[in-house]
């Protein structure tokens, strides 16, 4: 009963967080007459539930859906390999899922060269997953070149985020 209450309150908390409107200044109401009140009993801190197993949410949160690359490179970094290993483990646990890997580039390159570079990045991620046992038939790849930046700014931080291979679950996940 208590745990049900906790999940209910955490649910309320989550839904409250999900759509927090900007606080609008309210006119201050006249101060009520002071009354004595006992504080409500403590509920303990709210902590998030783990994502539903087999869900896209779980994939994104436990494996990570995006690996980053160095400038003009399609080589998998140490961090990228770690993320792809977790992706492979998740994909091997959830064998009905299919994925689309899109390769992306920062804006500092010509359009056609970046289409080729994005294809190379998507392929590097794909090959790593295949080597870790994910069936090739479950993986599609696409290159967006520099056409789909996730960060629209033009600075080092944006460029580093925009040089990526993103793994999207296209079917088979628990919703």
């Amino acid at each position: 009963m208590k745990s049900a209450l906790v999940s209910l309150t955490s649910l309320l908390f989550i839904s409250a967080c999900a759509s927090t409107p900007p606080a609008e200044p309210q006119p201050t109401p006249p101060a009520p007459a002071p009354t004595r009140q006992t504080p409500p009993p403590s509920t303990g801190a709210l902590t998030p539930l783990p994502p539903v197993p087999g869900s896209v949410d779980e994939f994104n949160r436990t494996a990570g859906d995006r690996v980053l690359f160095a400038y003009n490179s399609a080589s998998l970094t140490f961090d990228a390999r770690a993320i792809l290993s977790r992706q492979a483990a998740w994909l091997n646990r959830n064998g009905n899922t299919r994925i689309l890997i899109d390769g992306n580039c920062d804006e500092r390159g010509t359009r056609e060269y970046n289409l080729a570079l994005g294809a190379r990045r998507a392929s590097a991620a794909r090959n790593y997953l295949v080597n870790l046992g994910v069936a090739p038939s479950r993986i599609s790849t696409i290159s967006y070149g520099k056409e789909r930046p996730i960060d629209g700014r033009s600075n080092e931080s944006a460029w580093s985020r925009n040089r990526n291979a993103h793994t999207g679950i296209v079917s088979g996940a628990v919703s």
Partner: protein, 437 residues
Amino acid sequence: MKMEITMRLLLALFIMGFAAPAWATLEIDISKGHLDPMPIAIPDFVGASDPEREIGVQIAELVRANLERSGLFRPLDTASFIEQQTNINVQPRFADWRVIRADALLSGRLVMESENRMRIEFRLWDVLAETQLVGLQLATTPENWRRIGNKISDVIYQKLTGETGYFDTRIVFIAESGPKTDRVKRLAIMDQDGANPTFLTSGKYTVLTPRFSPTAQQITYMSYASRTPSVFLFNIETGRQEVLGDFPGMTFAPRFSPDGTKVIMSLVQGGNSDIWVMDLRTRQRQRLTSSPAIDTSPSYSPDGSRIVFNSDRGGTPQLYIMNADGSGTHRISFGKGRYSAPVWSPRGDLIAFTKSLNSKFHIGVMRPEGDVERILTTAYLDEGPTWSPNGRVLMFTREPRPGAGPHIWSIDLTGTNLRQMPTTGDASDPAWSPLIE
């Protein structure tokens, strides 16, 4: 006195590298900005009625704007004109035009022959030699007045420079809108001066890198409308779009062969891009490169015998040339920086390219032998040059500084006369049509 105009133009053309042998091109940079555009007087075209005069004014304005934009001519202020011509079939009072220092004079007349047909007559005069250089007439529908103005501009340009003009042409490009992270890209077309902009696709799917066929009636481009992003053909007359070929992977970077019978492009297989060519009649395809490197942005020489392309087989993106059958590949770019997006000049003597060096992008040209490199532009992002059909002007995409939207710019082969094309919104990936028949 005719000689004077001729000499002045010969000198101009020599400075701009046209009459000059290729080895002399280094002199262009030294002389750039010293060119004296030719003063030309273009009165409003005369007419017997208000509707005729109205179109006559529009045509004269269009011709003046075209010639001014070329950088080779300086149309004189119409307010300075002394003689007010009413009849173009008599000699002008040349002394009146010499006083205002006009070297050339264009006199035009417009006659409405019926509601749907007008006749345009024009004479080009050499003011100093007191002779007629051109006397022509043509007839068309009144709505067609812009093309008439462009054709007249081409006649003047050709007569006075000896070079074919480029005014009766169109630009296909990508019209862009929306935030960078959710960009809408539509295929669009406009006249070379930015007039008559028209969307050709809805924007539902991203489209990139359009290029004209030699007949200017077809466009090849890349689109995400198909399951696998692919090279498409677009017929301008019918509006019909089709995927080109059934390739086992993403195809991109398309360009027509100079005779229009083939499209050359990149195909991705196993993450690797190689260059293929497809015959549009037989639909047969042939693989031209098979390196594990990126091979893309192929562009034919005007005689169709060779192909310049972009490859990182040497470690960084550089320019290479191969024979049309894929043999004889050799690198031509050896300067500092990264080279990409090469385009062979329609004259055959130069290759335009994009170069990135020290966090800047440049449009430049070099000879097919790889020497005599000249950098024409510098910005945060300049890319994707396209040649005017006479090979003397380049258009390209420019993002002037980080975060500023792209627009289409043009520059002379001399490195002078840098201008932004008037487009209603952001625009990129221009491709210049051949002269319209």
